[in-house]
C-alpha cells in the first residue's frame, strides 16, 4: 500500500497516524507541507528514522525545492519527482491519502 501524507507534522497528526497504520513493507510518500518531516534537524525526523526500519519513505522533490529544503533530506528517505509519484501509485495495489 502507498500512503500519501500532505500535512506538516507540526500542523496535524496525519503523519503520526499514518505511521501507526502503515504495515511492514508499505510505502509512505510525503508531499506538500509533509515534506518537512523528512528533513534534517526537524523534530519529526526521528520518527521517520524509526519508521525506515519497517517502511519505505519517499519525499516529493518539487515540494522540497519550493520550500528550500531540497538539500536537507535525511538518509534513507528517497526523493522522487512527479513521475516517481505516479510510479509509486501504479506499483502499489492500493493507495490511501491521510488528509
Amino acid at each position: 500500500m502507498l500512503h500519501i501524507v500532505n500535512k506538516s507534522p507540526g500542523e496535524r497528526a496525519t503523519f503520526e497516524s499514518c505511521l501507526a497504520h502503515a504495515r511492514p513493507g508499505h510505502s509512505v510518500l510525503l508531499i506538500e507541507d509533509a515534506v518537512y518531516a523528512a528533513t534534517k534537524g526537524h523534530a519529526a525526523s526521528a520518527k521517520v528514522k524509526t519508521a525506515l526500519g519497517t517502511v519505505k519513505v519517499y519525499v516529493l522533490t518539487p515540494d522540497l525545492e519550493a520550500r528550500a529544503r531540497a538539500g536537507t533530506v535525511i538518509d534513507g528517505v528517497v526523493p522522487v519527482d512527479y513521475k516517481g509519484f505516479v510510479d509509486l501509485v501504479t506499483q502499489n495495489p492500493r493507495v490511501q491519502s491521510w488528509l
Binding site: 507541507d33 512527479y82 501509485v89 501504479t90 492500493r94 488528509l99
Partner: protein, 119 residues
C-alpha cells in the same frame, strides 16, 4: 493503467488542486490514462470560469480545462457540492461537467487506482 483522481479542495487556498493537476500531467506523460477527475467538497470551486488570477500567477481553472481539451480527461463536478457553493452551468468553465456522486463511485470501480487530493 487507469487512474481515477478525486480533488477535495478549491484552487489557491490549498496546494491540493495543484498537486492533483501535476500528478495527472505526469501520469498522462507516463502513458497512463486519467479515467476521471472528480471534484468534491470545496474542490467544486476549481470549476468556475469567473476565476481571474493576477497575470503573474497560474490559472488553476484554465489548466484543468486545457488538460480536458488536450487529453480528453473527464472533469466531473459533484452536483450537490456544487449547488451548495454556487457552481452552476452558467459559471462552469469549459471541459467540466456537473454530475452526481455516483460518478465518483463508478470511477473507483472502473479505475485500477484511486488517488485522493485534499485537506
Amino acid at each position: 493503467m487507469k487512474i481515477g483522481v478525486m480533488v477535495n479542495e478549491g484552487p489557491y487556498q490549498r496546494q491540493s488542486s495543484d498537486s492533483a493537476y501535476l500528478f495527472c500531467k505526469a501520469a498522462i506523460g507516463a502513458g497512463h490514462e486519467i479515467e476521471r477527475v472528480f471534484f468534491y467538497h470545496d474542490g467544486v470551486n476549481n470549476a468556475t470560469k469567473l476565476t481571474e488570477p493576477p497575470q503573474d500567477d497560474r490559472n488553476v481553472v484554465a489548466r484543468w480545462t486545457k488538460l480536458a481539451q488536450d487529453h480528453g480527461v473527464d472533469l466531473v463536478v459533484c452536483v450537490a457540492a456544487a449547488l451548495r457553493r454556487g457552481i452552476v452551468e452558467q459559471n462552469l468553465a469549459q471541459g467540466f461537467r456537473i454530475s452526481g456522486l455516483g460518478q465518483l463511485v463508478e470511477s473507483a470501480i472502473q479505475s485500477d487506482r484511486m488517488v485522493v487530493f485534499g485537506d
